[in-house]
């Protein structure tokens, strides 16, 4: 009979609640992964400023992400009313923008940032979406090469 392995119902529920309280909900998912809606962010101190966006709905799915303004201080994005509504109508103070990254260790070491489809998060409502920009000079794969 399992002894140590069995938790109480209350313990299970409280552990589940703990992770869900930290999760962001993406009502439309990520393009190409539209059935997965819940993600959490994780990083070690060594990984800063990069972080992992990990799916709670698909065990191996994660994306490397970074704050957009870290890579491109001049970046800007316009959200229309419908997009704002999807993420709970944030005030500008509650909005955070991330790029999904593809990393090539090489050498040379390169990061490719998707600036055409940024992630926009509402920190207050814990919602997010991937905004597909049309009519934009930014590309899906903007390369940064480091020494």
């Amino acid at each position: 009979m399992l002894q140590n392995e069995i938790m109480t119902e209350t313990e299970v529920e409280s552990l589940e609640k703990a992770i869900l309280d930290r999760a962001f909900e993406f009502p439309l998912g990520i393009v190409g992964f539209s059935s997965f809606h819940r993600y959490v962010f994780a990083q070690t101190p060594e990984e800063k400023p990069f972080a992992w966006m990990r799916s709670l709905d698909s065990s191996d799915l994660k994306f490397a992400v970074v704050d957009a303004f870290y890579l491109n201080p001049d970046y800007s994005v316009y959200l229309d009313d419908e997009e704002l509504r999807i993420i709970g109508s944030p005030s500008p103070m509650d909005c955070f923008i991330l790029f999904i990254l593809r990393i090539e260790v090489g050498p040379p070491f390169r990061i490719y940032a998707n600036m055409r489809a940024p992630l926009v998060l509402n920190r207050q409502a814990k919602k997010g979406m991937q905004c597909v920009l049309l009519d934009t000079p930014y590309k899906e794969s903007v390369m940064f090469e480091f020494e």
């Binding site: 393009v31 190409g32 060594e46 490397a64 600036m115 390369m143 480091f146 020494e147």
Partner: protein, 88 residues
């Protein structure tokens, strides 16, 4: 694939909740309306395949490069050799 013909004002339903309406034909363009639930993302198809691929490549590289994110962070604090950010 289902191929059919509709006239302006007519529509097509996809399942119970999605309706595609042909509004008008103007020269070589067709104006289309889409009614869909809020959790269905509607996109122009030519945008879609390359973005799906880009996201999938990113996810695949993330799972292969799990150990390298810290190295990535360290490298990014070094000298930026080149970037092809477009300046709008």
């Amino acid at each position: 694939m289902l191929v059919l013909s509709r006239k302006p004002g007519e529509s097509i339903k996809l399942g119970d909740q999605i309706e595609v309406i042909i509004i008008a034909v103007e020269g070589h363009r067709v104006r289309i309306g889409v009614n869909a639930p809020r959790d269905v993302r509607i996109m122009r198809a030519e945008v879609d395949p390359s973005l799906i691929q880009s996201n999938r490549d990113a996810a695949a590289s993330a799972s292969k490069q799990a150990d390298h994110l810290a190295k990535a962070a360290a490298s990014s604090r070094q000298k930026l050799v080149s970037d092809n950010t477009p300046k709008p």
